[in-house]
């Protein structure tokens, strides 16, 4: 027992009416790592995610966070305990300003959130911290903009800033780059790398480039069960993974491209 | 002394658009206006003005309106007054301000008993009169077992109570009662319960559409064949809404019927011309009591409420509506009531020909005697 696991699932099962989406999954997330969850469509990644964040209740099995059983905790309590998720599509408060978005998150640790008799000014002392966080994600210049008007990539960045405000120990990111242009993908990937310092990240991602660049460890799910686990090289070399997910014949080498610089690199990603 | 504010102003508070609008709504306004015109439009040289308002059958709306009339619009008296709940609240305000309430349509007997006031005048009928008029002869004729389908609110409860007393005083028996919420659309459940009770008479202690609907259902389920159904309070518009073939033959008590004699016919014809429908008893009552009020103002030489009230009680009401009438010290106007039978379809000339008057009941036989504490002449 040398390794320090922040999160463990034990024999996790989720069955929907006559269909087992997650089948006896044992995950161990190492503290401080970036851990990616990949797998074919319908493998059960989102479901595992939802189980971890309590948006779904497990049919069977248990969840351990820092050695503590959290299987029965409520979503908001999980968040306060340090597990925070981001959403697939821009989860921001559209009609609050960018600064206010972050402040709402900071406020949840303040303990004055039920104080309806106090003026809102008491929140101003959170502004400095909020600005710091915005600066971290490159949004300092947009602090007073209405969030609705931000471009997509910036919304993602804001969401990450908001999540960071909670100082999570464990961040859960569900397809953080989905639907983004290449530029934004780069920006967000960099951002994730940056904020991973000092915390643990679990993410679901289809963009292999991002996965290969960021993930320390990868778990491949298939049909609700763990197919294999390891670092990128190990996993991508596994013929079963290549057949079920990557979609290349087992004898061809599979490797993620480094930054595409030429038309050669514009080939389908699964090709060498 | 003299006329306050140089005019006599009458407010008509009635149900302008609700379930009792046909019984005393715009028609009551028409009746009061007719009285004012017939009186000549002015009294003691000062103009008479009529204003009206919709109480929406809500006590708070009605009493607020009355308060406003008195406090900021110089109203001298309020006529109409339909639903007992509204009237209860309105008469409180009127009494506090020493203004006269001319109650034409409300049914409760409370205004001249438990909550009597020197400023209340209750004109047309009350629950006691209709219960006595209808129930007593039936019990005496041997219909001993009674079942009540009662509207579940104060008016229904009051009607049921006085009727129950009448039944019991005459050695009858009440075998059951069921309280149906106001505005019940389906009475079949209650009719079945009435049927199961084995009663001789099923009495409808309700009013308006409730009466129409409960009777209809009673007929449909064959109750009318096995027992007598008695509508305790039926106004002419409601009787017109009943299927003549089932309602025909039913006996009830009323304070007025338009087709009673030439005097009633003459007035009713004028009313129908203006209002579009034959008058219900509240309409005629409203006319009659407004007339009486104005005569009293003229005789008293002032519109001061106490003086007018004294004159009203002193003078004997007498017109096409008020027959053999006295206005008692408690404010109860006691007059001849009529036992009528609803006509069968083949007896009817037209849609307005609905009742046949079978008996005239002397007022003092059907109204309750005056309570000593309500005898304001003494105190």
């Amino acid at each position: 027992m040398s390794q320090d696991f922040i999160l463990e699932t034990r024999n996790l099962v989720k069955a929907f009416k006559g269909f087992t989406a997650v089948d006896d999954v044992n995950l161990k997330i190492e503290r401080g790592a970036i851990h990616a969850l990949i797998g074919p469509n319908g493998a059960g990644k989102t479901t595992v995610f939802n189980l971890l964040t309590k948006y779904l209740t497990p049919t069977d099995g248990s969840l351990l966070y820092n050695g503590r059983d959290i299987t029965a905790m409520k979503p908001a309590a999980i968040a306060r305990a340090g597990i925070v998720r981001s959403f697939q599509i821009s989860a921001v408060f559209p009609h609050l300003s960018v600064l206010e978005n972050v402040r709402v998150a900071l406020q949840s640790r303040e303990g004055n959130s039920f104080h309806f008799w106090k003026p809102v000014k008491v929140l101003d002392r959170l502004n400095d911290r909020a600005m710091e966080l915005l600066a971290d994600v490159g949004l300092a210049d947009f602090a007073s903009a209405r969030t609705l008007d931000l471009p997509y990539g910036r919304k993602r960045a804001l969401e990450i800033a908001t999540t960071l405000a909670l100082e999570p120990e464990l961040m859960l990111l569900d397809e953080p780059t989905q639907g983004m242009g290449h530029e934004d993908v780069e920006v967000v990937a960099d951002l994730i790398k940056r904020v991973s310092a000092g915390r643990t990240i679990l993410m679901v991602e289809h963009n292999l480039q991002v996965v290969s660049r960021l993930a320390d460890r990868i778990t491949v799910l298939q049909r609700g069960a763990v197919l294999t686990e390891g670092d990128y090289a190990t996993v991508s070399a596994d013929p079963r993974v290549r057949e079920a997910y990557l979609g290349v014949a087992a004898d061809e080498p599979a490797a993620p491209q480094s930054r595409p610089a030429s038309v050669e690199a514009l080939a389908p990603e699964a090709r060498a | 002394e003299g006329i306050s504010d140089d005019k006599v102003k009458i407010g008509v508070l009635a149900d302008m658009g609700g379930v009792y609008a046909d019984i005393c709504g715009p028609g009551c306004v028409t009746a009061v206006e007719m009285a004012v015109e017939d009186f000549g439009g002015s009294v003691l040289g000062k103009p008479i003005e009529v204003i009206s308002a919709d109480d929406q059958l809500k006590p708070d709306v009605g009493s607020a309106k009355v308060r406003q009339w008195i406090e900021s619009e110089q109203v001298d008296t309020v006529a109409g007054l339909v639903s007992s709940a509204v009237v209860g609240a309105a008469t409180k305000v009127l009494t506090d301000n020493k203004k006269i309430a001319l109650i034409s349509t409300a049914a409760s007997n409370a205004f001249t008993t438990s909550s009597c006031s020197p400023y209340n005048v209750h004109w047309t009928y009350n629950v006691t009169a209709v219960a006595n008029g209808t129930v007593k002869p039936m019990v005496q004729a041997g219909k001993k077992k009674w079942f009540f389908i009662t509207a579940d609110y104060a008016f229904g409860h009051a009607l049921e109570k006085v009727a129950t007393d009448v039944v019991e005083q005459n050695q009858g028996e009440v075998v059951g009662a069921v309280r149906a919420p106001l505005g019940t659309t389906d009475f079949s459940s209650y009719v079945l319960q009435a049927q199961a009770s084995g009663a001789d008479v099923v009495a409808l202690a309700n009013a308006g559409a409730d009466t129409v609907n409960s009777l209809k259902t009673a007929a449909e389920f064959g109750l009318t064949q096995t027992a007598d159904v008695a509508g305790l309070l039926v106004f002419t518009p409601n009787a017109q809404a009943m299927d003549p073939s089932t309602a025909g033959g039913m006996t009830l008590t009323t304070g007025f019927y338009w087709d009673y004699d030439d005097a009633t016919r003459a007035w009713s014809a004028r009313f129908k011309e203006r209002h579009g429908a034959i008058p219900a008893m509240g309409h005629a009552g409203a006319y009659s009591m407004t007339m009486h009020y104005l005569k009293a103002v003229e005789a008293a030489g002032t519109d001061d409420s106490d003086a007018v009230m004294a004159k009203m009680k002193e003078m004997k009401p007498d017109d096409f509506f008020a027959r053999n009438a006295t206005l008692r010290a408690d404010g109860r106007m006691v007059h001849d009531m009529y036992t009528v039978k609803i006509k069968n379809p083949d007896e009817r000339r037209d849609g307005d020909d609905i009742f046949k008057v079978v008996d005239v009941l002397a007022g003092d036989q059907v109204y309750e005697p005056m309570l000593p504490e309500c005898n304001f002449a003494k105190s």
Binding site: A76, V84 | G17, S52, A53, G88, A89
Partner: protein, 307 residues
């Protein structure tokens, strides 16, 4: 601040108003305005449509009325008791209702309010559909006679100002900030660690207590508590007031209540009463088709466009 000036102007107007307008009418407007403002705290600022708010207005009214008649309380204590009772009922109802969302929330509140209606209809102390009649206005703090309409008016005005201030403060408080966040994106608020139901519940309690305050005051003004105060029609009417005025604006409910009460007052007089349903119905239709953001909302839009 511009806002402050506007409020001050309105306050001065309110102080002077009884010189021109019938005080009881003004008091009615203020009571309904407070009711609508309380309702709007939920609808406009927490995104919760309660379709049973009359239950709280009525509870405040009945409790105050009953205690004033039977326990001889002074008006301020009577009102306090009514407000607390409504707040308490709000705490219970709110606990149940906030577990549901959207139209289901509205239906739960409606259904709970119907149960309250049934209670007040059947309970022996309420006087059934006669209502609690003859509630004394009493003497404020034991020495100000409230049977004087003017004295009563300024008392009601003070209550309204307090209620309005509390709502405004709540909206612009740390708590209000969280409410706003919840309304904007509830799942996100949960993921930030907020027990959103607790926040909705507190908003519900504040709103129902203030609705109760409005009801208590109204009972004192009219010296009557009646079933209409707990009827679902009134719950619907307050939605109308709020929409006509402009939901989600602080002043909207005040304006809306003023407009509706005036219209009703006007229509209830005389010949028009005959058409009251037709005219009210037409107002609904026109409002919905042409002025969805309400009078105040429309006004704000115009200001924005022209300046």
């Amino acid at each position: 601040m511009n806002d402050k000036k506007l409020y001050l102007a309105l306050f001065i107007l309110a102080l002077a108003a009884p010189a021109v307008l019938y005080p009881v009418f003004l008091m009615k407007v203020l009571c309904f305005a407070l009711f609508a403002c309380a309702f709007n705290l939920l609808l406009g600022f927490a995104g919760l449509l309660s379709f049973g708010h009359a239950a709280f207005l009525g509870t405040g009214g009945y409790v105050t009325g009953y205690l004033m008649i039977n326990a001889g309380l002074t008006p301020e204590l009577g009102i306090l008791a009514g407000t607390l009772a409504a707040g308490l009922l709000g705490a219970v109802y709110g606990k149940l209702a906030v577990r549901r969302e959207g139209i289901y929330f509205a239906m739960v509140t409606l259904a709970l309010a119907q149960l309250a209606f049934f209670f007040y209809l059947q309970a022996p102390f309420t006087g059934g559909e006669d209502g609690l009649q003859g509630v004394p206005r009493g003497e404020l703090f034991g020495f100000i006679d409230l049977s004087n309409n003017l004295a009563m008016y300024y008392f009601v005005l003070a209550i309204f100002v307090f209620g309005f201030w509390l709502i405004r403060r709540t909206v612009h408080s740390p708590f209000g900030q969280v409410l706003k966040a919840i309304r904007e994106n509830e799942p996100r608020a949960i993921s930030l660690g907020y027990n959103v139901n607790d926040y909705k519940w507190l908003a519900f309690v504040i709103s129902s207590a203030l609705a109760g305050l409005a009801g208590s005051t109204k009972t004192l003004v009219f010296q009557l508590a009646s079933l209409n105060d707990v009827h679902w029609h009134l719950s619907g009417e307050v939605v109308l007031m709020t929409l006509v005025g402009g939901m989600g604006t602080l002043l909207g409910p005040l304006v809306g209540a003023g407009a509706i009460v005036t219209i009703q007052n006007y229509l209830s007089g005389g010949e028009l009463g005959n058409y009251i349903h037709i005219i009210l119905g037409a107002i609904f239709v026109v409002c919905v088709l042409a002025f969805r953001s309400g009078i105040v909302g429309q006004f704000q839009k115009m200001l924005k466009q022209n300046f």
